[in-house]
């Protein structure tokens, strides 16, 4: 072995230029991810970043790591299959609110429930950006758009509560503009065993320019993380949606990725068929 070389954040960045708009919150998320990986000092080839479809789902190609940009809504099962097949890898799943909570909603529930040791990072901007501004599950009911004139009239989906109720083992909210806080939260999320869910409020300055104000709305959670889901749920359901920090840190055993040590001889499988 060579002497360990200290890996820098820039070592995790690819040289591909993002398709994102100038001012998009996802640039900060990209930076925070590279910083978090540098802090963990995991070699780039032992990391896989898996995504679906949408603006934020473009992130794998902007990282120097293994990546998979799959179909819309199915990032979590892709990441689940990879992690189960290759437990030694660090698997991050990343995407947006439409990808994760609408088309991929069922997978979100079951990934939380299954509690496999992966980290799910959702860049929530409360809008479908790639298709030019339609309401997502986290959009406020009165947000006007061409597809839903006058608003959807629907109550927004609450990702953190759903994650908690479904069994996620780590639940946090961060703001993309807080690069240091996002970095630290991601480091802890990746380190925490089981399914870690991190919602990053990541403004869409093109279709939701009012989200520029998020930077003055966010505030750090005033309390330390709890391992009590009931307390965490109460805290999350009564906050203003801009409370950032680690809101729940559970102690549930992750999904077992153990393998049998002894591998059966192939002929053992045909014996039951013999007459």
């Amino acid at each position: 072995m060579n002497a360990p070389v200290s890996l820098k954040a820039s070592d995790y960045k690819s040289d591909l230029k993002p398709v994102w708009c100038p001012g998009c919150g996802d640039y900060h998320v990209l930076l925070a991810v590279t910083k978090a990986l540098a802090e963990l000092q995991r070699p780039a080839h032992d990391i896989a970043v898996i995504s679906g479809i949408g603006c934020s789902s473009r992130i794998p190609a902007y990282l120097n790591a293994y990546g998979f940009h799959g179909v819309h809504g199915r990032a979590l099962p892709l990441g689940t299959g990879l992690k189960v097949a290759r437990p030694e890898l660090t698997v991050l799943v990343a995407g947006g609110d439409g990808d994760g909570f609408s088309i991929g909603g069922n997978h979100f529930l079951h990934a939380c429930r299954r509690n496999i040791d992966i980290t799910y990072l959702v860049m929530d901007n409360q809008v479908y950006g790639m298709t030019k501004g339609q309401p997502s599950p986290t959009t406020a009911p009165d947000w006007d758009s061409a597809l839903s004139p006058g608003g959807t009239g629907l109550r927004p989906f609450h990702p953190l509560v759903i994650a908690l109720a479904s069994g996620a083992n780590f639940v946090a909210r961060t703001f993309s503009g807080d690069i240091k806080g996002t970095t630290q939260t991601l480091v802890e999320a990746i380190r925490h065993p089981g399914f870690s869910f991190v919602e990053v409020l990541s403004p869409c300055v093109t279709f939701r320019p009012e989200q520029r104000e998020w930077k003055s709305a966010v505030h750090a959670a005033p309390v330390t993380p709890t391992d009590d889901p009931a307390r965490a749920a109460r805290r999350i359901m009564t906050d203003d949606g801009f409370n950032t920090g680690i809101l729940f840190r559970g102690t549930r055993d992750p999904y077992s990725l153990a393998r049998s040590d002894t591998v059966a001889d192939m002929t053992a499988f045909e014996r039951p068929f013999e007459l």
Binding site: H45, A61, V71, G81, A85, M266, E270, F273, E274
Partner: protein, 556 residues
């Protein structure tokens, strides 16, 4: 159903061949059910013609599957008078109705059961040894205790005693054939599971669906013992993506489903095509469309398997040509998918999957997963490099310097998304090339016989076609059968070679529209005298039906 299974077990022990299928109603448990068996001293692979013997324990709802239980004047029907009137559809077919008080016999035995009495009757009628059967029953009932074995033995004995009244039944056993070969008793779903395992599959994702679930249930403990894993998914969208994820990680992966599940998976099978991730999806076909007939067989998913993906998406579609061939074809599918880094769909069906059959032990084959990998990628490694055969060395997570992003977006050789025409054309062509130019060998079809009368078929209808052709040859006709195993890409030149000089061609399959016939027409120049023979499930294509078509053609 238990008695039917034991009868097949007993026939197997006695050196016979046979198969057992079932016809059941929609009830989750209980309800009307028929165990259909065919036994012989040669390897039978399909039901044929009228049943020699029908034993009815309960006539209620018989009409629901009467069409699947063909009887004729030679058929013997055993009926218990307390089960009610013999249905008209039965008495119209045969006069040979033997009344036996099966329930009364069972009731006179402490712990007695009608199905054990019935089993004794049937085994006695076909000439099996009572002692062998008692030994078998003792083994099966050992967990239920001595009193159960005693009751079962007494029932069997009474059944054997009463079987003397069934002289009209043709006895075939026991030990008519002394086989030197080792024989297996298994279902096609089990054979497919074994083929997957032998081929190197070490990850499966599972969502339950009739009639494919048994593949997954067989694989769950088997994979654990083989150092692999199975995950139960939340839906088929998840299961197909889980296997794509696992295979992206370098582990050969498979899922099994039926038509509705395949429909859900098609978008992601396209992803596996575009991102060049090998996967195997077994579709155990059932009656369609929509929920259709989950418990009954039909070959009606050919269209979706071959044409269901959006975009130009070359992939592999294979179909086993017999129950035992579920093993070979699944193992081969794993090999092909891995070799070409492409998805392979295996079209099994409910008959192949759920029939239990006594077969000669399938030959061991060498096909295993062998993916072209790179372990030492250089600085300019390009995941989707344009190679002469279209297959690009694949790096997997863990390999230093091989980092790339697999993508369903059109991409350049590096994997970087690209909407440029030249990249799209180059990648489309490479993916087409690797599938079209691969050397598949002789396995594209099983070909038997020779002659200018050719029957082309696929999947489970191959068995009745083979049997009909055998019978036709006994009539002195020269018939060739071509059972196509590799459905996509279709080996057009090889098929043309087999059809060269053919005067008459029949294309036989089990679906309403003749999907295979239309597919062949779209790609091949078939001889002028080519006729499509097909009907939908649940009625199976039978050897005598095919023989009738052959003789009809021949008399023209």
């Amino acid at each position: 159903m238990t008695a039917g299974g034991l009868l097949l077990d007993a026939a197997g022990k006695a050196g016979l061949y046979g198969l057992q299928t079932r016809s059941v109603g929609p009830q989750i448990r209980g309800g009307e059910a028929a165990a259909l068996l065919r036994l012989a001293d040669w390897p039978v692979e399909t039901h044929s013609g009228a049943f020699d013997l029908l034993l009815a324990l309960d006539w209620s709802n018989f009409s629901r599957f009467a069409a699947e239980i063909k009887l004729d004047a030679r058929s013997v029907v055993i009926a218990d008078p307390v089960s009610g009137t013999v249905p008209e559809i039965v008495t119209a077919a045969t006069q040979n109705i033997v009344e036996l008080p099966i329930k009364e016999i069972a009731d006179n035995i402490s712990g007695g059961r009608v199905n054990m009495v019935a089993l004794g009757l049937l085994c006695g009628a076909i000439g099996l040894h009572e002692a062998d059967l008692i030994e078998l029953i003792a083994g099966k009932l050992v967990a239920k205790g001595a009193s159960a074995i005693e009751a079962g033995t007494a029932c069997l004995h009474e059944g054997f005693q009463h079987s003397t009244r069934l002289d009209a039944v043709t006895a075939i056993g026991p030990e008519r054939r002394q086989t030197g070969e080792r024989r297996w008793l298994l279902t096609g779903n089990e054979a497919a599971g074994l083929g997957a395992l032998r081929g190197g599959v070490r990850f499966a994702a599972a969502y339950p669906i009739t009639p494919a679930t048994e593949i997954l249930e067989w694989l769950a403990p088997a994979l654990a013992r083989a150092g692999g894993t199975l995950v139960q998914a939340e839906d088929e969208l998840a299961s197909v993506n889980m296997i794509i994820g696992a295979s992206y990680g370098g582990v050969p992966a498979l899922t099994a489903t039926s038509g509705p599940g395949l429909a859900l998976m098609t978008e992601s099978i396209g992803l596996a095509t575009a991102a060049e991730v090998p996967i195997v999806v077994i579709d155990v076909m059932r009656g369609g469309p929509s929920t259709g007939i989950p418990t009954k067989s039909e070959q009606s998913d050919l269209n979706i398997a071959v044409h269901g993906l959006h975009g130009d998406a070359p992939h592999l579609v294979v179909a086993p040509v017999s129950l035992a061939d579920c093993l070979f074809t699944t193992q081969w599918a794993v090999h092909l998918a891995e070799a070409m880094q492409a998805p392979a769909i295996v079209l099994s069906d409910q008959f192949l999957g759920q029939a239990r059959m006594i077969v000669d032990r399938p030959a061991d084959i060498a096909f295993v997963a062998a993916r072209r990998r790179t372990e030492n990628p250089d600085d300019d490694y390009a995941r989707y490099a344009l190679t002469p055969d279209g297959i690009s060395p694949m790096s997997v997570p863990g390999v230093a310097g091989g980092q790339y992003t697999a993508d369903g977006l059109a991409h350049a050789v590096s994997g970087t998304p690209s909407s440029a025409a030249e990249d799209h054309l180059a990648q489309l062509a490479k993916r087409r090339r690797k599938i079209d130019e691969f050397v598949y060998g002789d396995h594209w079809a099983d070909i038997e016989g020779d002659g200018d009368f050719v029957i082309v078929t696929w999947g489970s209808t191959a068995a009745p076609v083979r049997e009909a052709a055998e019978q036709a040859r006994a009539h002195g006709l020269h018939i060739k059968t071509v059972a196509v195993r590799l459905l996509a890409p279709l080996k057009v030149a090889a098929l043309a070679h087999e059809l060269d000089g053919a005067r008459r061609v029949l294309v036989v399959e089990q679906n309403e529209t003749g999907q295979f016939h239309r597919y062949l027409r779209s790609l091949c120049d078939l001889p002028a005298d080519t006729r499509a023979v097909h009907h939908p499930g649940p009625l199976s294509v039978t050897p005598d039906e095919v023989l009738g078509e052959i003789l009809k053609e021949h008399s023209l």
